[in-house]
């Protein structure tokens, strides 16, 4: 069982040597569809989730950012991203360039029990959604061209190396760092980089009291539902096979999402007197982000604790960032994804333990695993935070990150894309 759960890492180490194992059509089928599900999370899931939350005059700009990121990251992944993340490890720090342009990957290459092409695609969908998550942080004010430049550099310099460290046969994975489906790799990086971007770019004009209210919550709920469904591919797909690990990952993912939703809803209900649909779906995203690193390691009990912690932790984090720190992380990327991932990474140490229904821990037990999780999270935060800051400054000196105040007030749709979302 455990062997299966660690497949991603093993694949990382020997991605092109996998041909030794036979292809399994059932596993392949599940990974093909998981890939489709994770793409579905970004297009249209996340895009709609975000687009509904901005003002009417910026709705297309958000859709455009998510969509163009999907296209651009895909190409970068083919060119060199995959190789940097999953090529032969150079001392555990980065993949070499042996797989540039997917060199040598053919119809019959396999990785574990699936075609290598499918593994490349599955991982690509992660490389798409991670920068797309950041869109929420700088929505309604970032210039389109600087965004393309920033996210491209970000993928190469931040996402690819961290992926290598954790899943690609790199040093963090070797250390025993547990991040099943991307708590650190995906959510913590996106969340922290988003926060930095929000700080560097400054608040939207009108923040906090006078920004545009969400222009279409039905769109946001639709996107949220798609995220939920797609997340099964994200987490259960990270088992890289149709097996008991995938089944349990799906179950704990679902439990966490449900409980985090309800937790957020009830806190809101108690605190403000009314439960809101935006609240419940935000709780859901928090629950999903939080269970992500743990999803292959924990059982139902872990999922219950993680779900409740996600709902409560991310709720208060959102309030804190917005109301106390007054940072305009437009759509709350850091408090939901960043804080969620942190909670999940730490709780993974505890609920991986067999005594709580998890897959079991290496010797050293909970405490040792907890230390590794803390260490891995800090490394991710520091590398991602610092480099993101530098990148933003560099990009800003080439093309201003932010549109002018006048452009912001006209709305990015017409100003940057010469289109209107609705002609109703």
């Amino acid at each position: 069982m455990k062997k299966i759960l660690f497949v991603p890492i093993i694949l990382g180490l020997f991605p092109i040597l996998g041909s030794a194992q036979d292809l399994d059509t059932g596993d392949t089928s599940w990974m093909l569809i998981s890939t489709a599900l994770v793409l579905f999370m970004t297009l249209p899931g996340l895009s709609l989730f975000y687009a509904g939350l901005v003002g009417r005059r910026n709705v297309l700009s958000v859709l455009m950012q998510c969509f163009s990121i999907a296209c651009l990251m895909s190409i970068l992944w083919v060119i060199c991203g995959y190789s940097l993340a999953f090529g032969n490890s150079v001392n555990g720090y980065i993949g070499d360039l042996s797989l540039v342009f997917l060199n040598g990957i053919s119809f019959d290459s396999t990785s574990g029990t699936i075609p290598t092409t499918v593994f490349v695609m599955f991982q690509m969908t992660f490389a798409i959604i991670t920068p797309a998550l950041m869109v929420g942080a700088f929505a309604e004010r970032m210039r389109f061209s600087s965004m393309l430049l920033f996210t491209s550099l970000w993928l190469i310099l931040i996402y690819a190396p961290i992926t290598h460290w954790v899943w690609g046969g790199g040093w963090l994975g070797d250390l025993g760092f547990r991040d099943f489906a991307g708590g650190a790799v995906v959510h913590l990086t996106a969340g922290s980089a988003g926060l930095i971007a929000a700080i560097v770019m400054g608040n939207r004009s009108g923040f906090p009291s006078n920004t545009l209210p969400p222009h279409n919550l039905t769109m946001t709920v639709t996107g949220a539902c798609m995220l939920w469904v797609g997340w099964f591919g994200f987490n259960a797909g990270s088992a890289v096979g149709a097996n008991g690990g995938a089944g349990m990952a799906m179950l704990v993912t679902h439990i966490s999402a449900s409980l985090a939703s309800l937790t957020w809803m009830f806190i809101e209900w108690l605190k403000y007197g009314k439960p809101s649909v935006l609240g419940i779906v935000t709780g859901m995203v928090a629950g999903l982000a939080t269970i992500t690193p743990a999803s292959g390691y924990v059982g139902p009990l872990g999922a219950i604790v993680i779900g409740i912690s996600a709902g409560a932790g991310c709720f208060y984090a959102t309030q804190f960032i917005k109301q106390t720190l007054k940072i305009d992380d437009s759509l709350d990327v850091f408090p939901v994804h960043g804080i969620g991932a942190l909670i999940g990474l730490l709780l993974t140490a505890i609920f991986s333990s067999a005594q709580y229904g998890g897959v079991g821990l290496d010797e050293g037990g909970i405490f040792s695993q907890f230390s590794i999780q803390v260490f891995g999270s800090i490394v991710t935060l520091v590398w991602c935070g610092a480099l993101s800051y530098i990148l933003l400054k560099i990009v800003n000196s080439i093309i201003p990150l932010r549109v002018s105040e006048d452009e912001e007030s006209k709305g990015l749709d017409v100003v940057l894309h010469e289109e209107a979302g609705y002609n109703l």
Partner: protein, 112 residues
Amino acid sequence: MKLITAIVKPFRLDDIRAALAEVGVQGMTISEVKGFGRQKGHTELYRGAEYSVDFLPKLKIEVAIKDEHVERIIEVIIESARTGKVGDGKIFVTNLDEVYRIRTGEVGDQAI
């Protein structure tokens, strides 16, 4: 001729239209507007960000009528639009210098 402009609660429309039809009004123009007044709005709360919605949905009804009908029609509107609760709205009466029917080019009372 006078133009009667009534700002009313949207859900009263059906009754008002029926009442006006009964006294012979054959045409009117309505539009969606938002009103600010003594009636309180509400607050919307999105992830802890408060938006106070001060403007409430109202309906503006415009009816052009002959001078002699003014009183009767005001009465009818007041009766059919009233709920007795704050926010029932206002009626404004303005003078119309002239009215034309585009289709026929008719002018004045015939054009109404």
